[in-house]
Amino acid sequence: MIIGLEVHVSLPTKTKLFCSCSTAASEPNSSVCPVCMGFPGAKPMLNSEALRIAVSIAEALRCKISERVSFVRKVYFYPDLPKSFQITQLYEPVGKDGLVECYDGSVVRIRRIQLEEDPARIIKAEDYSLLDFNRSGMPLVEIVTEPDIKSEESLRAFITELMSILYYLGVDIEGEIKTDLNISMAGERVEVKNITGIKNMIDAARYEVRRQSKIIEGGGSVISETRSYVEAKKETVSTREKETDEEYGFIAEPDLTWYDTKGITRIEPVYADKIAEGYAKEYGIDKKVVLDLIMYDRDALRLIERTKGAFGMKTIINGIEIVKKYGDIGSEQAFKRLLDFLQNGGYVDAAAFEKIKKGEKVEGNVIDMKKIIDEARLLLNDKVKEDYKKNPKAINFVIGKIAAKYKMNPRDVAEIVKRIIDG
């Protein structure tokens, strides 16, 4: 199985890519102008912030950055495309030849990264369609990978890694992420277009792999075609488009000049994966635990960075988990108070969290270690110990019960329980 992706992400700019219309409007067709409506005579003006973010993405994905970038017209007729051409990139895209190292060790090469405008939104009703031009001209970055993804797990790893890098560049990953998947099991390439969201993307890939496998196992051959994903049925269907090379008649966009990238100040990339790996090595903790905490959470990462010398890493991780459970801790000072409290053997519930946050003294809430050990010993009877030898999960109910009762981190309880079993 080989999968290649084309991922489209919206950029967090205040205005559209080629005009000064706001990107924040909600009332349909309220944020439009002659440029994004494709009115005769209107000319595009490049949003330099969009270019800066696109260059930052390309650099974070270790691409070669084009010294000068330029744009082209991609001509096709569709009701959502007001000029009947999309301004995109071809000859001098923002970046080329990059790579993403995923947390599972796989590497996915990036073929190209380009900046382009989004078409309008089509809202389909029963026997008519509506168009919302608020989306027309929104800045998009298209990230095209090489066909390097070889399993569903790798697909998940890649997209998680990519989203994390984008998140730290300030790109809104909560928004719609549109993906085109290219999947080939035995030579013939099937393209699944316009999948919205990550879950759908993985579901579509899973369905498509299963579908193609079945055909191959049955002795048939997969047809090279374009398919679309039907979310409600969780399946892909043929779009019945002719499989010819599409003719877009690209020409240089003559209303835009070329743009020098040398002087652009890049946004510094953050590789959560690499940071988690560093912590795992330095503090002897599980990389995955740290990674889950910081992958999409710049506040968590900042709190770890600021407290890592003064507190034990395990305590810090407990602290972050508590913050994620009870909400914003407010300040770095409050977080340090929380870590102090944990280090002194306290356990935290909602009430204690609020008091620590406000800087008030917490009475009680002290973990009585002796009591916990006694209780664990009682639950760990010989049968449980015997089961544990065959199935390590056999002790989970003990861990769960104690963790819930004493508002403790299950990981800490697990350590205590294992120590008892090991004697």
Partner: protein
């Protein structure tokens, strides 16, 4: 004194504009200079805008049926700047549809030559040239892609100035070929062009290609004549042109001969680039959001917009088809990329000569044709008529067309070309020429007794 200064110094009665508009209306019925006239004009020195320039609240169609009823919600920058400088908007001038034509024939109303209605006015800025030739106090904002200012200016006996590409913002210009389109000015004297150019030039926050360049006036006494191009010209014109060169010699100019590379490929290169870009610009006209609307929403989108696109004129359809062809993947290398290369070679070659002096050429290879005769020309024969105006236009070079002789009462125009951003030298030259040569006008609408 410019006629603008003269106009403001004159005593005009209350009825001045009303009388002017009334007379203009009558003449316009005969000559088809204007697509619409601003009946509300009541102050300022009159200026007209070619119908491919957007004027807020005024129907702007680029003479295309496709855009009939289109009223732009904004002013083109050039129009905005004219209004801000207290010029009075008098109307939208007739043109070949979207600028596609050299004779003014590709319009719903054929533009007619003010010296003789049986003759063409030239195109594509036909109406701009006619308006300039019939109105005593007026300047025209026109536009040239491959010669659309110089040609009608020459046939109608007025001065036509096409500045360096990018010196006047194209924001609000209904695009023909964006890398070639240049907004320019027509007037009865270079003296009127200067203040208008001063008012409208310069960078613009709505057009990335509008540059902030220092414009010069480096005058030279050297004039180069390009024999390869002169050879394409009608013998009768050559005789008039020789006389012009003699006259310029007597005025102290040295006449030299030069060769430009790739001139034989210039017309093909121009039409390939212009059509390729035009076919993308015209893709947006789908009878859907503006202009002529197709209400038959029951069709599939392909059928829907195909139906609407029947409203394009023949020349527009021809350019869409050819333009789409030359940029298609299988032949792009052979046509489009080669055309870009020719533009580069030609630009370089012309630049080398222009560093040493001006280039002077006749505007058209033929005497003003009769409308009936021009109609008989094949598209290719018509395209070849642009052989002399294409070199400066393809290279984005500033040039000015001015009347220099009259043949049986019909004016002849020559064009002076200079290097990029030396635009004011052209105005200086024609001002000097006007000391020596008096232009003839058949109409003087708006003259004050």
């Amino acid at each position: 004194m410019s006629s603008i200064e003269e106009f403001y110094s004159l005593e005009k009665d209350k009825e001045y504009y009303r009388d002017l508009l009334e007379e203009l209306g009558k003449v316009n019925e005969k000559l088809n200079a204007f697509n619409n006239i601003n009946e509300g004009l009541s102050s300022g020195f009159p200026f007209s805008a070619k119908d491919n320039l957007c004027v807020k609240g005024v129907e702007s169609t680029a003479s295309s049926k496709m855009l009939s009823g289109y009223v732009p919600p904004y002013n083109a920058t050039v129009v905005e700047r004219m209004l801000r400088n207290k010029f009075g908007f008098i109307g939208k001038t007739n043109m070949d549809e979207f600028g596609f034509g050299s004779f003014g024939l590709n319009s719903q109303k054929i533009a007619k030559n003010p010296f003789d209605e049986h003759y063409v006015a030239g195109g594509s800025s036909s109406g701009a040239a006619i308006a300039t030739a019939i109105l005593k106090y007026h300047v025209a904002i026109a536009e040239s892609t491959g010669g659309s200012i110089a040609t009608p200016a020459a046939f109608c006996g007025v001065v036509g100035f096409t500045p360096t590409y990018g010196t006047i913002s194209r924001h609000g210009l209904i695009d023909y070929s964006n890398s070639l389109d240049k907004i320019g000015i027509m007037a009865r004297s270079a003296k009127d062009i200067r203040p208008v150019f001063d008012a409208v030039k310069g960078p613009d926050g709505y057009d990335s290609t509008a540059v902030n360049a220092k414009l010069n006036s480096n005058n030279t006494k050297h004039i180069f004549v390009v024999d390869q191009l002169i050879e394409l010209v009608d013998k009768r014109i050559r005789a008039y042109f020789e006389a012009l060169l003699d006259k310029l010699s007597s005025m102290g100019y040295s006449i030299e001969h030069a060769k430009i590379e790739s001139t034989e490929a210039a017309v093909a290169s121009y039409y390939i680039i212009a059509m390729a870009e035009a076919s993308t610009n015209l893709a947006r006209y789908t009878g859907f959001k503006y202009g002529l609307k197709n209400d038959n929403f029951g069709e599939s989108y392909n059928e829907f917009f195909t139906e609407a696109r029947k409203y394009f004129g023949d020349e527009a359809k021809r350019r869409i088809i050819l333009g789409t062809f030359v940029r298609s993947a299988s032949v792009k290398e052979k046509y489009y990329y080669k055309a870009l290369k020719v533009r580069e070679v030609l630009s370089h070659s012309m630049h080398e000569i222009l560093e040493k002096g001006f280039i002077l050429l006749p505007v058209m290879p033929v005497l003003t044709p009769k409308i009936e005769d021009a109609k008989k020309l094949s598209p290719l024969e018509t395209y070849k008529m642009d052989a002399l105006t294409i070199p400066p236009n393809l290279c984005g070079l500033p040039h000015i067309s001015f009347p220099y002789a009259y043949d049986n009462g019909m004016p002849l125009g020559a064009q002076l070309i200079t290097s990029k951003f030396n635009d004011y030298a052209l105005i200086d030259f024609v001002e000097e020429w006007e000391e020596e040569f008096k232009y003839v006008f058949k109409y003087n609408i708006g003259a004050v007794q």
